[in-house]
């Protein structure tokens, strides 16, 4: 089991003593694709950072591939590299070009020269359509493409698990569709990952773009982690917050007005 949490308490990233999630009981099997929904500032990023081993759980037990984990320090480097993380704000290295940013993890961990690392990520750049932008600095790119570069960087080391923090947030519809399609491909097994299905955990503040029969959904509500089940379970849920996350905000206002 890649991820197994029992009674985990998650602290806020900026205020670690402030608990944002209590008693998280959650298991993610290999190849599963989870989408965790919640409004802003409900602890989605904090849960992902805890799962990623960047923040220790405040309480409870977190096991990563069966090994008890708090943070991934240097002795757990191999485990850390099994996980790729896509940050909500991309968080690219502002002094490196897109190509250099994506190649850096590979270059660092496999001690490759720059041209060797760039050659190694060529397929990834093609797969993510970033090849023409490889020499651009992040500050010259629109956010849509920065986010895609963040995804490519997370995939550079061919991880087993991908954690994506609100990957569809602030994307236009074209890029949003591309992400959904690409994440589905990754989940089924992409050529870059040697056809091995990728375990994915994504967070969102809007369930609508995530329609899919293979996906599993969960909700963060009032400091609780609530597993919801499949898309059909989501649609039949009476939970008001689920309904809110399934409703376009603009439409909701229009309905109220009408």
């Amino acid at each position: 089991m890649p991820i197994e949490m029992r009674g985990v308490a998650v602290g806020a990233g900026e205020e670690p003593d402030f608990i944002v999630l209590n008693d998280v009981n959650w298991s993610v099997a290999a190849g599963e694709f989870w989408v965790i929904g919640a409004p802003h500032h409900s602890g989605k990023s904090d849960l992902l950072m805890t799962t990623a081993g960047l923040m220790p759980p405040v309480g409870g037990s977190y096991k990563f591939y069966g090994k008890k984990t708090r943070i991934f320090d240097e002795s757990r480097l191999a485990d850390r590299l099994r996980m790729g993380i896509v940050f909500e704000q991309s968080q690219l290295f502002h002094y490196l070009t897109v190509g250099e940013s994506i190649a850096l993890p590979l270059q660092y961990h496999q001690n490759l020269k720059e041209d060797e690392a760039m050659a190694a990520i060529d397929d990834l750049l093609h797969a993510t359509d970033l090849k023409p932008l490889a020499d651009a600095l992040p500050s010259n790119l629109p956010q849509n493409w920065q986010k895609r570069a963040g995804l490519a960087r997370a995939l550079a080391l061919r991880p087993d698990i991908l954690l994506a923090d609100n990957p569809l947030g602030a994307l236009d519809s074209r890029h949003s569709r591309w992400w959904r399609r690409f994440l589905d491909e990754l989940s089924r097994g992409h050529k870059w990952l040697n056809e091995k299905p990728l375990t994915i955990v994504a967070t969102t503040d809007d369930f609508r773009p995530w329609r899919g029969s293979r996906l599993k959904f969960a909700l963060l509500k009032e400091k609780n982690f609530v597993p919801l089940g499949s898309w059909n379970d989501l649609l039949s849920s009476d939970e008001p917050l689920v309904k809110e996350l399934l409703t376009a905000p603009v439409l909701a206002v229009e309905e109220e007005e009408s």
């Binding site: 900026e14 960047l54 940050f87 968080q91 002094y95 270059q107 720059e114």
Partner: protein
């Protein structure tokens, strides 16, 4: 909360505002980065900074003293960790780190050379030229070597080099690292399993150390040469042979050793303090300018302390 009854409390102790509603005092932002850098989070320091205004001067001085001690502790620990990483990971990811280190040496050394040469010529004209001219009037040529060695080789050369390197490269380091920290690229490094100290700090510290050392040597040689040029232009009765012989007599082996150690110490600690302030504390973009000023001030303070330490060593040598 204007009606709140503020009391000076430990982190996470409960406050009560004016309406009797409880709220908690927590340290501001903490590190998301949990590796080595986590040890630099000092809730006590945040607590001291956020505490209400002191009521007495002793209270104020006490707080300042504690802040200074905590900062010194943080910088000392950061320096030791950086040294350990330099030794332990010298050959780790060498294809990435070694070229970066060479780039930093160029940045902190070679690129500053024109400015240093200009300053060295000016220093030679002003300090040496004036001193020799006065010595010529008094007929005290026997002391010229001692004065030159004491003023230029032991004191002004290393200190001026350090301050110039701080101004040109040290401040840029704080801004570069602080911006990266505020934009979350340090967390991204950690997420990719890249040690931020190895990747960001080690090249800068090595570059700054070797840069300041080399530039100090260039500055001293150029200043001594330009000083004699000024003397020559003033027609002072001092031949080049006598001038350089005086210098050679006054220079001992301790001067070479202590000069090397001192200039390396200046470079190392400027690198450490600037990286510490840029990296080891949680930052927002608006904090970067404040932190840069703070780092610059602390660097000058540290350089003066090192200088004082070497002054004692020179006296004993």
């Amino acid at each position: 909360m204007p009606n709140a009854e503020w009391k000076w409390k430990r982190p996470n102790e409960k406050f009560f505002d004016g309406a009797g509603e409880p709220f908690y005092f927590t340290p501001s932002r903490t590190l998301i980065v949990r590796g080595k850098l986590a040890s630099f989070f000092r809730s006590e320091k945040q607590w001291l900074r956020r505490a209400p205004l002191p009521r007495t001067y002793t209270d104020y001085l006490g707080r300042k003293l504690f802040t200074v001690l905590l900062t010194a502790q943080g910088i000392g620990a950061f320096a030791l960790i950086t040294l350990a990483v330099i030794v332990r990971k010298f050959n780790v990811a060498s294809a990435v780190i070694h070229p970066m280190t060479r780039r930093e040496i160029v940045r902190a050394g070679v690129r500053l050379l024109p400015m240093y040469l200009f300053v060295a010529v000016a220093l030679g004209f002003l300090a040496i030229g004036q001193t020799v001219a006065v010595a010529a009037r008094l007929g005290a040529f026997d002391y010229i070597g001692t004065v030159m060695v004491t003023v230029i080789v032991r004191e002004l050369g290393p200190l001026v080099s350090a301050v110039l390197a701080l101004a040109r490269v040290g401040t840029a380091n704080v801004i570069e690292l602080g911006t990266g920290r505020a934009l979350g690229s340090v967390e991204a490094l950690e997420a990719a399993g890249i040690d931020p100290i190895h990747y960001l700090v080690v090249p800068k510290v090595i570059g700054m150390t070797l840069g300041v050392f080399s530039l100090t040597v260039y500055l001293i040689i150029t200043a001594l040469a330009s000083g004699y040029l000024f003397v020559f232009l003033q027609n002072a009765p001092l031949t080049p042979t006598k001038y350089f012989a005086e210098l050679a007599i006054s220079l001992g082996w301790q001067d070479f050793v202590l000069l090397a150690v001192k200039s390396c110490a200046f470079g190392f600690f400027i690198g450490i303090v600037t990286c510490y302030h840029g990296l080891a504390q949680p930052l927002r973009l608006e904090d970067v300018s404040r932190v840069t000023v703070r780092a610059t001030t602390e660097c000058i303070f540290v350089c003066v302390l090192i200088d004082a330490l070497f002054f004692v060593l020179y006296l004993r040598a």
